[in-house]
Amino acid sequence: MASDPDAALMVAFKGGDERAFRSLFEKYGRTMVSFCNHFVRDRARAEELAQDIFLKLHRSAGSYEATARFRTFLYRIASNHCLNELRRAEYGSRRALEASEGGEPPAPTDPDTLPAGTSTPEQTVLASALGRAVEQLLEGLPEKQRLAFVMGRFEGLSYEEIAHALGTTVPAVKSLVHRATVSAAAALAPFMTTGEEVAP
């Protein structure tokens, strides 16, 4: 795939070029840690999962077709892996226990006071509260919505890329992302000021 240099690297690796694989890991390894972190909320575990994903990628090079965009191929592996992780019963019970020990709901806040670069201790506390609210939001979303939401909102994938990664259609992704975004608006309402109207 001439327009996708990552696909070219994957094809080179499929042909035995280990340096090409290394380049892909260097480019996407950290991205995968961030992606997995949205599902496990545990950096060490997220790192293990990201490594698992690349080990799977290493093993599955033979099945890679150059017609597939590398990024969607990678996110497909990552999505399946994170879903498996979520479905582990022991993991679910552990998260439930942690959720039951959670703090108080956040107070309403003006979004403009949230950090954008350097931050005061107050802003750091607010950002931390917002982060917890988002984590709780993600935990409450159905699996597919969560995957679509994370890929779209945090990883910057287009609806089409998400559809390829999830093995579904663009209209389905549109619906998944919208429902998750409506849930996000409800979950983050305490952080929003009212009466704000901004044209897109």
């Binding site: 961030s34 982060g131 919208h178 975004t181 929003m192 897109p200």
Partner: protein
């Protein structure tokens, strides 16, 4: 047009076609509910964009990964035997080796001493191809020949 809320997120994400977008905006002009919903979702997206980035991985993240990758790779000898040709040949060669071993054992058990013959010639099993090329081993002299094929310059 009914409320267009299912398209609202796609609108905010720039995922509508120009035609869909024009239709949606025409609806927004007439529908205060959808405008309010648009602003609500836009506020949520604005908050999400202000989240701090994920913390970077630990400094030895890459190092751990390459260690895991190295540990997962089979040793060169094992990889040789994973090759398709060996997968086909191995059962046959093993059968030949077993037959030769059986002949040897029978031969040796029906022979008088010296008893140190078997131990001394176990290394002949190391090369199945060489053993198979010999055919039936008739006597002790044959066993010795097989065991020292390399010294005789026989092509394996």
């Amino acid at each position: 047009m009914k409320h267009a809320s299912p398209s609202l997120s796609a609108y905010l994400d720039g995922e509508l076609s120009s035609e869909e977008r024009a239709r949606f905006e025409a609806h927004l002009e007439r529908c205060p509910d959808c405008r309010a919903e648009r602003d609500r979702l836009k506020g949520a997206l604005s908050l999400l964009s202000r989240l701090p980035p994920s913390p970077p991985p630990s400094p030895n993240f890459e190092q751990h990964f390459y260690a895991r990758l190295a540990a997962e790779r089979p040793a060169p000898r094992a990889r040789l035997f994973d090759r398709p040709l060996w997968r086909w040949l191995a059962p046959g060669l093993a059968g030949v080796a077993a037959s030769v071993a059986l002949v040897l054992v029978v031969e040796i058990r029906h022979r008088p001493p010296p008893d140190d013959l078997l131990v001394g010639d176990l290394d002949l099993f190391e090369n199945y191809e060489a053993v198979a090329s010999v055919g039936v081993v008739e006597n002790q002299e044959d066993v010795e020949v097989v065991a020292h094929l390399d010294e005789l310059g026989v092509r394996k």
